[in-house]
Point group: C2
Chain length 186, copies 2
Protein backbone atom coordinates (compact mmCIF):
# COMPACT_ATOMS: atom_id res chain seq x y z
CA UNK A 1 0.00 0.00 0.00
CA UNK A 2 2.86 2.41 0.72
CA UNK A 3 4.31 1.67 -2.71
CA UNK A 4 0.93 2.28 -4.37
CA UNK A 5 0.47 5.51 -2.40
CA UNK A 6 3.96 6.64 -3.34
CA UNK A 7 3.23 6.10 -7.03
CA UNK A 8 -0.02 8.06 -6.80
CA UNK A 9 1.50 10.91 -4.76
CA UNK A 10 4.31 11.20 -7.30
CA UNK A 11 1.76 11.41 -10.12
CA UNK A 12 -1.05 13.51 -8.67
CA UNK A 13 0.09 14.87 -5.33
CA UNK A 14 -1.14 14.28 -1.81
CA UNK A 15 -4.65 15.73 -1.61
CA UNK A 16 -5.77 14.01 -4.81
CA UNK A 17 -4.61 10.62 -3.53
CA UNK A 18 -7.54 9.02 -1.73
CA UNK A 19 -7.34 5.81 0.31
CA UNK A 20 -9.79 4.31 -2.17
CA UNK A 21 -7.32 4.93 -5.02
CA UNK A 22 -4.51 3.38 -2.99
CA UNK A 23 -6.62 0.30 -2.29
CA UNK A 24 -7.55 -0.02 -5.94
CA UNK A 25 -3.94 0.25 -7.14
CA UNK A 26 -2.48 -2.03 -4.46
CA UNK A 27 -5.30 -4.59 -4.45
CA UNK A 28 -5.25 -4.55 -0.65
CA UNK A 29 -8.52 -5.25 1.16
CA UNK A 30 -10.44 -2.25 2.55
CA UNK A 31 -10.00 -3.32 6.16
CA UNK A 32 -6.23 -3.05 5.84
CA UNK A 33 -6.47 0.75 5.83
CA UNK A 34 -7.69 0.85 9.42
CA UNK A 35 -5.29 -1.91 10.40
CA UNK A 36 -2.10 -0.49 8.87
CA UNK A 37 -2.91 3.22 9.04
CA UNK A 38 -4.91 3.76 12.21
CA UNK A 39 -3.83 7.43 12.21
CA UNK A 40 -5.28 7.98 8.75
CA UNK A 41 -3.94 9.66 5.67
CA UNK A 42 -1.29 11.77 7.40
CA UNK A 43 0.33 8.52 8.47
CA UNK A 44 0.30 7.30 4.88
CA UNK A 45 1.97 10.55 3.79
CA UNK A 46 4.64 10.19 6.45
CA UNK A 47 5.43 6.61 5.44
CA UNK A 48 5.58 7.57 1.77
CA UNK A 49 8.08 10.35 2.58
CA UNK A 50 10.22 7.88 4.54
CA UNK A 51 10.02 5.24 1.79
CA UNK A 52 10.91 7.75 -0.90
CA UNK A 53 13.91 8.99 1.08
CA UNK A 54 15.07 5.41 1.65
CA UNK A 55 14.91 4.70 -2.08
CA UNK A 56 16.81 7.88 -2.85
CA UNK A 57 19.54 7.02 -0.34
CA UNK A 58 19.90 3.60 -1.97
CA UNK A 59 20.14 5.23 -5.42
CA UNK A 60 22.79 7.61 -4.07
CA UNK A 61 24.78 4.69 -2.64
CA UNK A 62 24.60 2.97 -6.03
CA UNK A 63 25.78 6.12 -7.79
CA UNK A 64 28.69 6.40 -5.36
CA UNK A 65 29.70 2.74 -5.72
CA UNK A 66 30.24 3.07 -9.43
CA UNK A 67 32.08 6.40 -9.20
CA UNK A 68 35.67 7.45 -8.51
CA UNK A 69 34.91 11.07 -7.64
CA UNK A 70 32.16 13.34 -6.34
CA UNK A 71 31.72 14.66 -9.87
CA UNK A 72 31.24 11.17 -11.35
CA UNK A 73 28.82 10.30 -8.56
CA UNK A 74 26.73 13.41 -9.21
CA UNK A 75 26.71 12.69 -12.94
CA UNK A 76 25.38 9.20 -12.27
CA UNK A 77 22.80 10.36 -9.72
CA UNK A 78 21.39 13.11 -11.93
CA UNK A 79 21.31 10.70 -14.87
CA UNK A 80 19.22 8.25 -12.83
CA UNK A 81 16.70 11.00 -12.07
CA UNK A 82 16.64 11.97 -15.73
CA UNK A 83 16.10 8.35 -16.78
CA UNK A 84 13.20 7.95 -14.34
CA UNK A 85 11.56 11.12 -15.64
CA UNK A 86 11.80 9.92 -19.25
CA UNK A 87 10.63 6.41 -18.30
CA UNK A 88 7.49 7.87 -16.70
CA UNK A 89 6.88 10.01 -19.79
CA UNK A 90 7.04 13.14 -17.59
CA UNK A 91 4.23 11.93 -15.35
CA UNK A 92 6.06 11.24 -12.10
CA UNK A 93 7.83 13.61 -9.72
CA UNK A 94 9.18 13.47 -6.19
CA UNK A 95 7.33 11.54 -3.48
CA UNK A 96 8.13 14.14 -0.82
CA UNK A 97 7.64 17.48 -2.58
CA UNK A 98 3.81 17.33 -2.71
CA UNK A 99 3.71 16.97 1.09
CA UNK A 100 5.55 20.30 1.23
CA UNK A 101 3.82 22.25 -1.55
CA UNK A 102 0.36 21.16 -0.42
CA UNK A 103 1.40 22.77 2.82
CA UNK A 104 -0.88 23.21 5.78
CA UNK A 105 -3.52 20.90 4.37
CA UNK A 106 -1.18 17.95 4.09
CA UNK A 107 0.62 18.95 7.15
CA UNK A 108 -0.13 18.03 10.37
CA UNK A 109 3.11 18.92 12.16
CA UNK A 110 4.01 15.24 11.83
CA UNK A 111 3.83 15.27 8.03
CA UNK A 112 5.97 18.42 7.98
CA UNK A 113 8.51 16.72 10.25
CA UNK A 114 8.51 13.60 8.03
CA UNK A 115 9.22 15.75 4.95
CA UNK A 116 12.01 17.58 6.77
CA UNK A 117 13.59 14.33 7.94
CA UNK A 118 13.28 12.81 4.44
CA UNK A 119 15.10 15.67 2.71
CA UNK A 120 17.65 15.98 5.52
CA UNK A 121 18.44 12.27 5.20
CA UNK A 122 18.97 12.47 1.44
CA UNK A 123 21.19 15.53 1.79
CA UNK A 124 23.23 13.93 4.60
CA UNK A 125 23.83 10.79 2.53
CA UNK A 126 25.03 12.85 -0.44
CA UNK A 127 27.38 14.81 1.84
CA UNK A 128 28.82 11.63 3.43
CA UNK A 129 29.81 10.30 0.03
CA UNK A 130 31.30 13.65 -1.01
CA UNK A 131 33.47 13.59 2.12
CA UNK A 132 34.51 10.02 1.30
CA UNK A 133 35.58 11.31 -2.14
CA UNK A 134 37.84 13.80 -0.41
CA UNK A 135 35.78 16.98 -0.11
CA UNK A 136 35.98 18.94 3.11
CA UNK A 137 32.91 18.79 5.34
CA UNK A 138 31.51 22.26 4.83
CA UNK A 139 31.76 22.32 1.01
CA UNK A 140 30.46 18.74 0.95
CA UNK A 141 27.36 19.76 2.88
CA UNK A 142 26.85 22.79 0.66
CA UNK A 143 27.26 20.75 -2.53
CA UNK A 144 24.80 18.19 -1.17
CA UNK A 145 22.16 20.89 -0.56
CA UNK A 146 22.73 22.20 -4.08
CA UNK A 147 22.41 18.73 -5.65
CA UNK A 148 19.19 18.08 -3.73
CA UNK A 149 17.68 21.45 -4.67
CA UNK A 150 18.68 21.19 -8.33
CA UNK A 151 17.36 17.65 -8.72
CA UNK A 152 14.11 18.52 -6.90
CA UNK A 153 13.65 21.50 -9.17
CA UNK A 154 14.49 19.54 -12.30
CA UNK A 155 11.80 17.02 -11.33
CA UNK A 156 9.30 19.88 -11.60
CA UNK A 157 10.58 21.96 -14.50
CA UNK A 158 11.52 18.94 -16.64
CA UNK A 159 8.04 17.55 -16.10
CA UNK A 160 6.38 20.88 -16.92
CA UNK A 161 8.54 21.53 -19.97
CA UNK A 162 8.37 17.95 -21.24
CA UNK A 163 12.13 18.03 -21.73
CA UNK A 164 15.21 16.52 -20.07
CA UNK A 165 17.09 19.82 -20.50
CA UNK A 166 16.78 20.82 -16.81
CA UNK A 167 18.51 17.60 -15.74
CA UNK A 168 21.28 18.17 -18.28
CA UNK A 169 21.72 21.77 -17.16
CA UNK A 170 21.71 20.88 -13.46
CA UNK A 171 24.24 18.10 -14.09
CA UNK A 172 26.63 20.42 -15.92
CA UNK A 173 26.56 23.04 -13.16
CA UNK A 174 26.87 20.54 -10.30
CA UNK A 175 29.63 18.45 -11.91
CA UNK A 176 31.68 21.58 -12.60
CA UNK A 177 31.31 22.64 -8.98
CA UNK A 178 32.23 19.17 -7.70
CA UNK A 179 35.36 19.18 -9.85
CA UNK A 180 36.39 22.59 -8.54
CA UNK A 181 35.91 21.42 -4.94
CA UNK A 182 37.64 18.04 -5.36
CA UNK A 183 41.06 17.37 -3.79
CA UNK A 184 42.89 17.19 -7.12
CA UNK A 185 41.73 20.73 -7.92
CA UNK A 186 43.07 22.17 -4.69
CA UNK B 1 -8.89 37.34 -7.23
CA UNK B 2 -5.89 36.09 -9.19
CA UNK B 3 -3.58 37.58 -6.57
CA UNK B 4 -5.58 35.91 -3.77
CA UNK B 5 -5.57 32.59 -5.63
CA UNK B 6 -1.83 32.89 -6.23
CA UNK B 7 -1.21 33.39 -2.52
CA UNK B 8 -3.33 30.38 -1.62
CA UNK B 9 -1.80 28.12 -4.30
CA UNK B 10 1.69 29.08 -3.09
CA UNK B 11 0.71 28.19 0.47
CA UNK B 12 -1.47 25.08 0.08
CA UNK B 13 -1.33 24.00 -3.53
CA UNK B 14 -3.97 23.84 -6.24
CA UNK B 15 -6.47 21.20 -5.16
CA UNK B 16 -6.81 22.61 -1.65
CA UNK B 17 -7.54 26.09 -3.02
CA UNK B 18 -11.31 26.37 -3.38
CA UNK B 19 -13.10 29.26 -5.11
CA UNK B 20 -14.77 29.95 -1.75
CA UNK B 21 -11.33 30.51 -0.15
CA UNK B 22 -10.31 32.80 -3.00
CA UNK B 23 -13.50 34.82 -2.57
CA UNK B 24 -12.97 35.09 1.16
CA UNK B 25 -9.36 36.24 0.84
CA UNK B 26 -10.01 38.66 -2.02
CA UNK B 27 -13.32 40.02 -0.73
CA UNK B 28 -14.75 39.68 -4.24
CA UNK B 29 -18.48 39.02 -4.58
CA UNK B 30 -19.55 35.45 -5.32
CA UNK B 31 -20.99 36.30 -8.72
CA UNK B 32 -17.57 37.46 -9.93
CA UNK B 33 -16.38 33.84 -10.12
CA UNK B 34 -18.77 33.04 -12.93
CA UNK B 35 -18.14 36.40 -14.57
CA UNK B 36 -14.32 36.34 -14.51
CA UNK B 37 -13.72 32.59 -14.64
CA UNK B 38 -16.46 31.11 -16.81
CA UNK B 39 -14.21 28.12 -17.49
CA UNK B 40 -13.87 27.35 -13.78
CA UNK B 41 -10.93 26.53 -11.63
CA UNK B 42 -8.60 25.38 -14.42
CA UNK B 43 -8.84 28.91 -15.78
CA UNK B 44 -7.90 30.32 -12.38
CA UNK B 45 -4.87 27.99 -12.30
CA UNK B 46 -3.79 29.09 -15.75
CA UNK B 47 -4.04 32.77 -14.86
CA UNK B 48 -2.12 32.21 -11.62
CA UNK B 49 0.69 30.48 -13.55
CA UNK B 50 0.83 33.41 -15.99
CA UNK B 51 0.77 36.00 -13.18
CA UNK B 52 3.50 34.18 -11.26
CA UNK B 53 5.72 33.98 -14.35
CA UNK B 54 5.15 37.68 -15.05
CA UNK B 55 6.23 38.57 -11.52
CA UNK B 56 9.31 36.36 -11.80
CA UNK B 57 10.31 37.98 -15.10
CA UNK B 58 10.00 41.41 -13.46
CA UNK B 59 12.15 40.24 -10.53
CA UNK B 60 14.73 38.88 -13.00
CA UNK B 61 14.79 42.22 -14.86
CA UNK B 62 15.35 44.02 -11.55
CA UNK B 63 18.16 41.64 -10.63
CA UNK B 64 19.78 42.26 -14.03
CA UNK B 65 19.44 46.05 -13.80
CA UNK B 66 21.47 46.23 -10.63
CA UNK B 67 24.14 43.79 -11.82
CA UNK B 68 27.28 44.08 -13.94
CA UNK B 69 27.63 40.36 -14.72
CA UNK B 70 25.60 37.17 -15.01
CA UNK B 71 27.10 36.04 -11.70
CA UNK B 72 26.02 39.22 -9.89
CA UNK B 73 22.55 38.93 -11.43
CA UNK B 74 22.18 35.34 -10.26
CA UNK B 75 23.35 36.28 -6.78
CA UNK B 76 20.71 38.99 -6.59
CA UNK B 77 17.94 36.78 -8.02
CA UNK B 78 18.61 33.88 -5.65
CA UNK B 79 18.81 36.31 -2.74
CA UNK B 80 15.37 37.67 -3.62
CA UNK B 81 13.93 34.15 -3.53
CA UNK B 82 15.67 33.50 -0.23
CA UNK B 83 14.31 36.75 1.22
CA UNK B 84 10.76 35.88 0.16
CA UNK B 85 11.03 32.44 1.74
CA UNK B 86 12.21 33.91 5.05
CA UNK B 87 9.57 36.68 4.92
CA UNK B 88 6.82 34.05 4.55
CA UNK B 89 8.30 32.08 7.46
CA UNK B 90 8.71 29.05 5.15
CA UNK B 91 5.02 29.01 4.28
CA UNK B 92 5.05 30.05 0.62
CA UNK B 93 6.48 28.32 -2.42
CA UNK B 94 6.19 28.66 -6.18
CA UNK B 95 2.86 29.58 -7.79
CA UNK B 96 3.44 27.26 -10.75
CA UNK B 97 4.93 24.08 -9.20
CA UNK B 98 1.68 22.85 -7.58
CA UNK B 99 -0.01 22.86 -10.99
CA UNK B 100 2.71 20.43 -12.09
CA UNK B 101 3.05 18.20 -9.02
CA UNK B 102 -0.72 17.86 -8.64
CA UNK B 103 -0.51 16.50 -12.13
CA UNK B 104 -3.44 15.03 -13.98
CA UNK B 105 -5.94 16.34 -11.45
CA UNK B 106 -4.94 19.94 -11.88
CA UNK B 107 -4.26 19.43 -15.47
CA UNK B 108 -6.48 19.76 -18.07
CA UNK B 109 -4.13 19.97 -21.03
CA UNK B 110 -4.59 23.74 -20.81
CA UNK B 111 -3.24 23.95 -17.27
CA UNK B 112 -0.25 21.81 -18.29
CA UNK B 113 0.37 24.14 -21.23
CA UNK B 114 0.11 27.20 -18.96
CA UNK B 115 2.70 25.70 -16.58
CA UNK B 116 5.00 24.89 -19.49
CA UNK B 117 4.70 28.38 -20.91
CA UNK B 118 5.25 29.94 -17.48
CA UNK B 119 8.51 28.09 -16.82
CA UNK B 120 9.69 28.51 -20.43
CA UNK B 121 9.11 32.27 -20.15
CA UNK B 122 11.12 32.56 -16.92
CA UNK B 123 13.97 30.51 -18.35
CA UNK B 124 14.01 32.51 -21.59
CA UNK B 125 14.18 35.80 -19.70
CA UNK B 126 17.10 34.57 -17.62
CA UNK B 127 18.92 33.43 -20.77
CA UNK B 128 18.34 36.77 -22.53
CA UNK B 129 20.03 38.64 -19.71
CA UNK B 130 22.91 36.16 -19.59
CA UNK B 131 23.51 36.75 -23.30
CA UNK B 132 23.40 40.52 -22.69
CA UNK B 133 26.13 39.98 -20.06
CA UNK B 134 28.28 38.34 -22.71
CA UNK B 135 27.56 34.63 -22.44
CA UNK B 136 27.20 32.62 -25.61
CA UNK B 137 23.67 31.48 -26.46
CA UNK B 138 23.94 27.79 -25.69
CA UNK B 139 25.68 28.11 -22.30
CA UNK B 140 23.30 30.97 -21.45
CA UNK B 141 20.30 28.74 -22.10
CA UNK B 142 21.84 25.92 -20.08
CA UNK B 143 22.69 28.21 -17.16
CA UNK B 144 19.14 29.59 -17.25
CA UNK B 145 17.66 26.07 -16.99
CA UNK B 146 19.98 25.33 -14.08
CA UNK B 147 19.07 28.55 -12.26
CA UNK B 148 15.36 27.84 -12.71
CA UNK B 149 15.67 24.24 -11.51
CA UNK B 150 17.87 25.12 -8.52
CA UNK B 151 15.60 27.95 -7.37
CA UNK B 152 12.47 25.82 -7.86
CA UNK B 153 14.04 23.06 -5.82
CA UNK B 154 15.27 25.44 -3.12
CA UNK B 155 11.69 26.71 -2.76
CA UNK B 156 10.72 23.17 -1.76
CA UNK B 157 13.70 21.94 0.24
CA UNK B 158 14.25 25.24 2.07
CA UNK B 159 10.58 25.22 3.04
CA UNK B 160 10.71 21.60 4.19
CA UNK B 161 13.98 22.02 6.08
CA UNK B 162 13.01 25.37 7.60
CA UNK B 163 16.42 26.69 6.58
CA UNK B 164 17.82 29.10 3.97
CA UNK B 165 20.77 26.75 3.36
CA UNK B 166 19.43 25.42 0.02
CA UNK B 167 19.31 28.97 -1.40
CA UNK B 168 22.86 29.64 -0.18
CA UNK B 169 24.09 26.37 -1.66
CA UNK B 170 22.31 26.91 -4.99
CA UNK B 171 23.69 30.46 -5.18
CA UNK B 172 27.28 29.30 -4.62
CA UNK B 173 27.07 26.65 -7.33
CA UNK B 174 25.32 28.86 -9.87
CA UNK B 175 27.51 31.92 -9.31
CA UNK B 176 30.66 29.82 -9.72
CA UNK B 177 29.33 28.43 -12.99
CA UNK B 178 28.32 31.87 -14.25
CA UNK B 179 31.81 33.18 -13.49
CA UNK B 180 33.42 30.28 -15.36
CA UNK B 181 31.18 30.93 -18.38
CA UNK B 182 31.58 34.71 -18.41
CA UNK B 183 33.60 36.49 -21.15
CA UNK B 184 36.39 37.58 -18.77
CA UNK B 185 37.02 33.92 -17.87
CA UNK B 186 37.40 32.81 -21.47
Amino acid sequence: MIEAARTLIRERGYNATAFSDVLELSGAPRGSVYFHFPDGKAQLGMEVAAAHAEEQRAIIDRAAEGADSAAAMIESYVNMGRKGMLASDYSRGCGIAPLVTEGPTAASAEVAEASRAAFAGISARLAEHFVAFGLRKKPARELAEAVLAAVEGALITSRALGSPAPFDAARAVLVARAEALSPSAR
